[in-house]
């Protein structure tokens, strides 16, 4: 059986993790010995590195890897967007399969990349792009393929989960916790992609395209981060039996006549009942709940990032390519390869239904809860609880949790409530599951 010869582009934490797995004395499955690193492309071949590495492997031009006819698979772990996309596309056009951990590229250019792979009869695998070491993409492609996926909801960004866990457990301030996360290496110097939810939106897009089978516009995903989360909301949520987590959700709605599958996809800080399986996911861990028919509800849980877990996913993808290529007779494995098989579109947020949390600051007057209740009632917005949680000379804080209601109606009733004389401010609005 021939070896699988790979070229690695990028040698940061993930690249180093891959090297360690393939060169280790670990007592792992013998098939790992069939993977051979032919070349590694780095920015600076003379840089001092964390681990001892065979310097003959290093080159400073990734094109050398693509042009090398002995290399079967290009492993892109350099990060970034434009150059990484270019390398992926050139590799595919050269007839080489690609393994990548790059969620930003796949989320933005997935359809173009999948098409280039299909044209050349090669694969693009990206298990490491979503939730680090947790097997999610391959189960969606294979083990869950007999099912009709109804809904996915999860905690798929470790940085924000670390920050929210810390704020909850230690009543820690947002900015201080963010600084700590940066110091610990859990947050980037520019934390925007994580804390504003863009990273989670990239990931839920990739998962939704796989689960629902159609191309999704990255810009159409409504995305809200955690930078405006107030300690008061965390305190009130806890008091009422909820945790606050940054959730990503994707669910299908019934198909209309136009034959395109309507989807509801969003990323937002949300209340979760403490008894819910996702509520116990702490720190930098990730978890995804998948509701499918006839399967029911399963949850996949584990480390969402880090050198080891991410590298493990990359190497498993390489092994899968190798195992499939042994049988190479110029036909693709239809489960491992990926093709869109339908049209999807994201529906307008006024058409979705969801549960809501609203914190209202108002004058402490006996009639105000009744008035708020009346307005919701007029718009058919059914309420699970309405509680006055804090009252002082400055006013009262009222927290409303609705049942799952029409988002259009909820927004209209919110406007009317905001216009009440007694209401000073709608201080915050969060999703609930």
């Amino acid at each position: 059986m021939g070896k699988c010869k790979i070229g690695i582009v990028g040698f940061g934490t993930v690249g180093t993790g891959i090297y360690k797995i393939l060169r280790s004395e670990f007592d792992s499955h013998p098939i790992l010995n069939e993977i051979e690193i032919v070349k590694i492309a780095v920015k600076d071949v003379n840089k001092k590195r964390e681990i001892a590495i065979d310097n003959n492997l290093l080159v400073d031009n990734p094109i050398e890897l693509i042009d090398d006819p002995s290399i079967d698979v290009i492993v892109e772990v350099m990060g970034g967007i434009d150059i990484a996309k270019d390398i992926i596309m050139k590799s595919l056009r050269a007839g080489k399969s690609v393994v990548t951990a790059n969620k930003a590229v796949i989320a933005r250019y997935g359809s173009e990349i999948y098409e280039a792979a299909a044209q050349k009869g090669v694969y693009v695998l990206s298990e490491a792009a979503v939730c680090g070491g947790i097997p999610i993409i391959e189960p969606l492609k294979r083990s869950l393929k007999s099912n009709h996926i109804k809904k996915m909801v999860g905690i798929i960004n470790g940085t924000t989960n670390f920050i929210l866990s810390k704020m909850t457990n230690e009543k820690a301030d947002y900015m201080e916790t963010l600084k700590l996360a940066q110091k610990l290496g859990y947050a980037e110097f520019d934390p925007t992609a994580d804390v504003e939810g863009h990273d989670a939106a990239d990931k839920i897009l990739i998962l939704s395209e796989l689960a629902f089978g159609g191309k999704i516009e990255r810009d159409s995903i409504i995305t809200e981060g955690i930078s405006k989360i107030n300690l008061k909301d965390i305190e009130y949520a806890n008091k009422l039996g909820f945790e606050i987590k940054l959730l990503a959700l994707a669910e299908r709605y019934p198909i209309n006549s136009d034959d395109s599958l309507p989807l509801n996809i969003w990323v937002a800080p949300s209340l979760i009942p403490k008894s819910h399986p996702l509520a116990t996911v702490e720190g930098v861990n990730n978890a995804l709940l998948i509701d499918a028919a006839p399967l029911g509800e399963i949850m996949l849980y584990g480390p969402g990032a880090g050198s080891g877990p991410t590298a493990a996913s990359v190497v498993s993808d390489i092994l899968n390519l190798h195992a499939t290529s042994i049988k190479n007779n110029n036909t693709l494995d239809p489960l491992l390869a990926f093709d869109f098989w339908r049209n999807c579109h994201i529906i307008d947020s006024s058409q979705i239904t969801k549960k809501n949390y609203l914190r209202i600051i108002c004058i402490d007057s006996p009639g105000v809860i009744g008035k708020i209740g009346d307005i919701f009632g007029n718009y058919d917005v059914s309420i699970e609880s309405i509680v006055q949680l804090d009252a002082s000379e400055d006013g009262a804080e009222i927290v409303v949790i609705t049942h799952e209601v029409s988002n259009g109606n909820f927004e209209k009733s919110k406007e009317e409530i905001n216009a009440l004389n007694e209401v000073k401010l709608i201080a915050s609005q969060l999703s609930c599951i």
Copy 2:
């Protein structure tokens, strides 16, 4: 692309579930249309059935399916042991791949079955045999293959988890809860295999052979069920911050000179800290925690049984066979196929280390806790807590929880404690994680 033609042996709840998936108007992936049911072997072709089914498909002799050259894959969902094993072996010898949900047959005759499949260049897939609808076997074969599996621990029997959840939440009696489970269809008329832990032992054996790569003797797995669990132990465990669950555990120990991998595998009712991810697994759900390097700890959670989940796993296995066979050029996919690649053995229970819970009934005398503590100390058994929980005229109840200690030393100290004049009875002994 040709269709994948299957013959189904058995048409109980799982068989019916498979038929529903393949004949449904579900909006699932189009590759499902490529599976064609050619024949179904049943005991009585004239029996009235829950669903309308094309009677031309039914035959009463499974050998007809094996002899039919148009059938590519035999799906064994009849249950039982001897006849099912015979059908699986005959199918493999006839050069047909097999999909089975039969954990009892795979746990007992796995090595014989895997060998027959390898000889004929066909596959045996059994995702549905372990934890119903949760993808576990395929992730172990593929997505986790880059890792070195260190330990697996899980709740892998739904019946006993339903009974223990009910006993915990409602202080319900064991026999009454078992009867309820039988009424609800969660327990068999003869519940022995479930309540005595044999079903969980079958499953942890199958998972261990996959994860560690060697044949394991079914009889060597120390197995203890839940039939002797006392409400008092549940109450005390809860008081001290634990849940009691029936756990299956498998872990590797360091390799000695003899080159065979030492394993510690057991099934036993165990205390789990309430903050542990497995503690929240309620009712008939299952979950498996896998600790691997460099991945870290992941958990797979979901419905452990039932017609829909089990059938979904069977159909996904069929799809995987179909996708692989499209590329058929007489070589097997080395990840999907399974071969032992090392020797393993189960080490003697005196050589393992574990945490323990002990409930001791003794005379209410001030010196007794000291005496018990001294004996443990003499044997190097380190104690996490020792608590007197109930005292009456009849005596006192003392609960000891140890750290992870040598099991041999623990057993010796237990004998000495039992011989103390103050000790009336060692009422129960449980594992802890």
